[in-house]
Subunit: 147 residues, 2 copies
DNA sequence: CCCCTTTCTTGAACCAGTCAAGTTTCTTTG
DNA sequence: CAAAGAAACTTGACTGGTTCAAGAAAGGGG
């Protein structure tokens, strides 16, 4: 996915191609699951004058158009990723909050058959796995430990 | 689950039995999926002097002890419920944000076998269904409609 | 190349949630 | 039953992510 690809995606979504938007897309590609602050910082390394509001607007527009996906695990700020439409899920570390992708074991549309949906019309089943990442699983940190 | 039951639960969790805590438990029982603000309002109908900080503290303590469950769908504030330990999930209305319980169709611990967990030690799989509630599914609102 | 619309900048405001210090109230023990 | 220690609560200020609003800038069709 290079920049011309991003251009096509934007035009396909009836969005103008702007420097801030390309920078945001590049930032999210570089750093999947980045939160808004990280995206802003990353964007400013290449476009120092972009306002924080622009990043919020861009991320909102891209999310609405389905070009990026917004994830928001409980207790975390909003995070963004480029992988869309492939029905994957996320593992979140309870300790450090890091997020990783998980392809669904059940296949496409997992668990989408809820027993009693109370009349809701369901269009998506989102699965979030909670646990500890490899780094936080380590019993005692090597140096800097707590004796 | 009456008040003496709540007392037992609190003592069993090594928590003191206080009026604010009982009031919070009653509020959450009365209004499952209530957010903190609603809980505060409900609590104050019986205990008008309880501070908002107390409600935050109580909900935090009860959550830590596993007496209540905190749920936080993306874009929503924290909500609380008494049903714990029965592995049920939630449907969230994209339009109005209302939450309903859904018993898992797969059985206990649904989808807990992720394909590649990247070394994470997973202890919970949380499933959130997204869609429209019966009220928001109605094509055109009776009165007050869009011409 | 011009104009119109979308997008971006600036700057202020909002609100759920948190922090800190001091007071109250549980519960255990003498 | 009373006292003491610890947990819990009140008060009040504050934070930080997100949103609102008004005006300036810059895409892109014609």
């Amino acid at each position: 996915m290079d920049d011309s690809e991003f251009e096509h995606l934007l035009r396909g979504a009836d969005l103008r191609v702007t420097r801030p938007r390309l920078a945001v897309l590049r930032a999210v590609r570089r750093q999947p699951h980045a939160d808004t602050g990280s995206v802003l910082a990353a964007v400013r390394t290449e476009e120092p004058t972009v306002s924080h509001q622009a990043v919020y607007d861009v991320l909102g527009a891209l999310t609405d158009s389905g070009l990026v996906r917004r994830i928001q695990p409980a207790g975390s700020v909003a995070r963004y990723e480029l992988r869309v439409g492939d029905n994957h899920h996320h593992v979140v570390c309870r300790s450090c909050g890091v997020v990783a992708d998980v392809d669904c074991a059940v296949g496409v549309r997992p668990c989408l058959d809820a027993s009693d949906t109370h009349g809701f019309v369901i269009d998506e089943a989102e699965v979030t796995y909670w646990g500890l990442c490899p780094a936080c699983t380590v019993p005692a940190p090597p140096t800097k430990g707590s004796p």
